[in-house]
Subunit: 503 residues, 2 copies
């Protein structure tokens, strides 16, 4: 039995604890070994990695014999307070690793094997090395539809599940975009339209992973997005909708741990992507989902054939886990709208809702089309009439009013100023814009500081097929860091962002 | 510029440093990010992972603003002392990760790509996740001979190289066994025979990875094996030989990092195994190597066909990196000798050298055969006459005298007592021993506490094809822990170690 002491090492998902050397020796525990820590009163236990400190020499960490240092996350999980006693035992290697070995050799995984693996991952029983093994085994032998169903169910089972559906209100809508296209911020347009139509759409979004801004990053410019689950239910009950960050809700928590491995490797495997998206939606309590698959040169999905295969897999697998999934293909060959980066995307969303942009504005049109399909899915209009109804809701100002309600309910924020430093990129000659490179636009926004710096980003003055004269502004860069703006200028020297047609 | 403070977290190969939160914020560094720490005086730098501590709240770690905590390893690498100033900058993601991505997709790696990857791994620029990616990419698409040559050269280049070869003394001998067979302790027999014949054989051995004892663990019962490089050269000059632990010599350091990933995953891939072994031998300054490949049921290599392929690959690849490699196949279907575990293996080695065992003793015969081949490789005898000469050296007591010289030179140790607790496993009926399960013998020795507890292990009283009466002792278990002995008894209830022929 050891006395717990709080340490403030922020250690991410693979939690560590620190033991004094003499206790570690007694228990025959070595650095990086896994231990099980149990609160015998509450019967709660966690598994974590061990670091060992030697108190006999001069050390800035002083942990006495009989004490164990743990980060605050572990205090919550174990339901202990400082100086409580916990039991520490060496933890065995998880037996689910055998399934991964089989998978790496080409054997398909069963649902119950996925459940054991995912449950061990969420418990913290896997090291980074072992989680990577799982991810890469599934990448080396891509998951079949049956396996993706198994993985999705395992991921849902590993976390909390929200519930909004009632007998009276059986349809809970949601939307998702597989990503990869900068500026594609349709959520803050669609959600208020759907909610204004009287339908329920509790939206949990992610922060940026591979894009310069996630929906949660953009919404955070306007209001608080990090809400407690109780407030979430209250807001949805009152306003039919919310737009919050889903990260703290413990929905499909395995997903975050897996993404933590995929992200540094710049991996994005189809089977895992489908399981990741559908498990989040299912856990968030949705029943009807519209999925946007942008494709085209420079998008995540380049070929139409690939987009079509994804469509089919999402719909088939969705059905098998009890979700109605509709998919749509959209143009992913250039940014959507004209703003990239949290602040500028948020401002453009407001302009659209305030009816300050042209009717044919691409982002507006896309949001209306999607909202239209969703109104049809929910049976609110006949087939083919959805977009018309969505347009009415938007034009009337009802959507703007609904978004303002949501913003107030979540906790309104003061919109910050544009980036302190800016730089206009001009056309070198007259011509027509042939293409805009999505990847380079995203890279630029990242270099400028997005999404951490809300006011870092770009505003595009020209889009594909528009004409430019020599010296006309193509796009403007913004950042609050002069250094970052300078880095962006260097990037521009070595990379083509806008391509002009031959004269 | 931050002031360095020593911390005593033992952190293994992926070194960490700890920053105060306010410094981390200034530098825009997040937990688990990689930083580059530079000593601007010595121009030395390291790359490591960052943990962040928040000093504003009560914390048992107190690191002030302007200080950076580092483990003592990093102090050595940077050549700094406490309170020296170092420069800290965020480290970029290593560009060699692109090659791994290609390899995972099936593209062969070039030598210069291996060099970049291995150099980044040794620098500490890879996280565990990224090292695992490398290991699994090479496992998903097994390495060709050309790739293994590239990897081997890259691994040699990444570390130190010992040099014993001179114009007068062009042949530096070495031996290696690919492992997997318990009790197979031929090194402490072969080395003194070869050295007594006047040949140079500086032996660097490993501690146990997957067996209950490595050669270094066994030798450590008799003498110190953790020697400084200067003493190593001195001892080899005086005595023609040494038998030391190679782990601290920085030979092929990437190997240790890669093994750290393979080991928890229980992986052992052919290409990486060949590169691992040959890079260590090349770095240790050997020119002529005899490689023992035990095969048979329960060995690492089960099929003769597989053993033959390995033979060919070792010889071909050895030649391409400038080594003369000879391989031999041996019986790996049951333990070699009668002792398993550091203490008992060491005692059996002494008995053989003291001519206290029968001439046909399997371990003695195997060592003589191997020493004979090596004497022939070095041109000391005609082909077919090596074993005879080896036998003479052993019988005369010259080999024992040489081992005693080596033990004294390395620092003799007092041989410990047998394990405090023991248990005799008896035959349930009379019969003939049909087989002994290598894996279960190793598992038992592990459970009993080997190799950490030098006196944990087994002594076999019967080997395959020997007869037993009912109630005769088959083998005896030893441990210094009663608990571990009890665990071993439970293991025996559920696992067959000895199989008797049908009556």
């Amino acid at each position: 039995m050891l006395k717990v002491k709080k340490i403030l090492l922020d250690d991410g998902p693979g939690l560590s604890a620190i033991l004094n050397e003499s206790n570690a020796k007694e228990l025959e525990i070595y650095p990086k070994d896994r231990i099980k820590i149990t609160n015998e009163k509450t019967k709660k236990s966690i598994i974590c990695k061990v670091e060992i400190t030697n108190n006999s020499k001069k050390d800035f960490c002083s942990l006495k014999k009989g004490e164990i240092g743990m980060p605050s996350d572990s205090f919550e999980k174990l339901q202990v307070k400082e100086n409580d006693k916990v039991k520490v035992t060496p933890a065995k290697k998880p037996s689910s690793l055998t399934y991964i070995k089989n998978k790496f050799q080409g054997k398909a995984l069963q649902e119950k094997e996925f459940k054991e693996i995912i449950s061990d991952i969420v418990k913290g029983a896997y090291s980074d090395i072992e989680t990577t093994y799982f991810v890469l085994a599934c990448a080396a032998h891509p998951l079949s539809d049956k396996e993706v169903v198994g993985l999705t169910k395992a991921m849902v089972a590993s976390g909390k599940e929200l519930r909004f559906q009632t007998k009276k209100n059986p349809i809970i809508l949601d939307k998702h975009c597989i990503g990869g296209v900068p500026g594609n911020r349709t959520t803050p347009l669609i959600i208020p339209i759907i909610a204004a139509a009287g339908l329920t759409i509790p939206k949990t979004s992610s922060r940026s992973i591979t894009s310069p801004s996630g929906t949660a990053d953009t919404m955070e410019v306007l209001c608080n997005v990090d809400l407690h689950i109780k407030d979430l239910y209250k807001i949805v009950k009152e306003h039919n909708a919310c737009i919050i960050w889903g990260g703290a809700l413990e929905l499909s928590p395995a997903d975050d741990i897996i993404i933590n491995v995929e992200h540094p490797l710049e991996l994005d495997f189809e089977g895992q992507m489908i399981a990741s998206i559908l498990s989040k939606k299912k856990s968030a309590g949705s029943t009807h989902i519209l999925l946007d698959i942008p494709y085209g040169k420079g998008a995540k999905v380049e070929k139409k054939q690939h987009a079509r295969r994804l469509q089919k897999r999402f719909e088939t697998i969705g059905k098998k886990i009890g979700l109605t999934v509709k998919t749509m293909l959209s143009d992913g060959s250039q940014p959507v709208g004209k703003s990239i980066g949290p602040l500028y995307e948020a401002k453009e969303v407001l302009e659209i809702l305030e009816n300050k942009v042209e009717k044919k504005h691409d982002q507006r049109q896309k949001a209306l089309e999607m909202a239209g399909i969703m109104l049809e899915m929910a049976g609110q209009t006949k087939k083919g009439k959805g977009k018309e109804k969505a347009e009415k809701i938007l034009s009337s100002g009802a959507a703007l009013q609904k978004l303002q309600e949501i913003i107030k309910a979540q906790g309104e924020k003061k919109i910050p100023k544009n980036g302190k430093y800016s730089y206009e990129v001009k056309a070198e000659r007259k011509g027509t814009i042939k293409s805009i490179n999505n990847k380079h636009i995203s890279d630029l926004a990242f270099i400028l500081g997005a999404p951490k710096d809300k006011a870092a980003g770009l505003i595009l003055n020209k889009k594909v097929d528009e004409k430019t004269t020599a010296d006309e502004t193509l796009f403007t860069l913004y950042s609050n860091s002069k250094l970052k703006l300078d880095y962006a200028k260097i990037f521009l020297k070595n990379n083509t962002v806008y391509e002009l047609s031959k004269q």
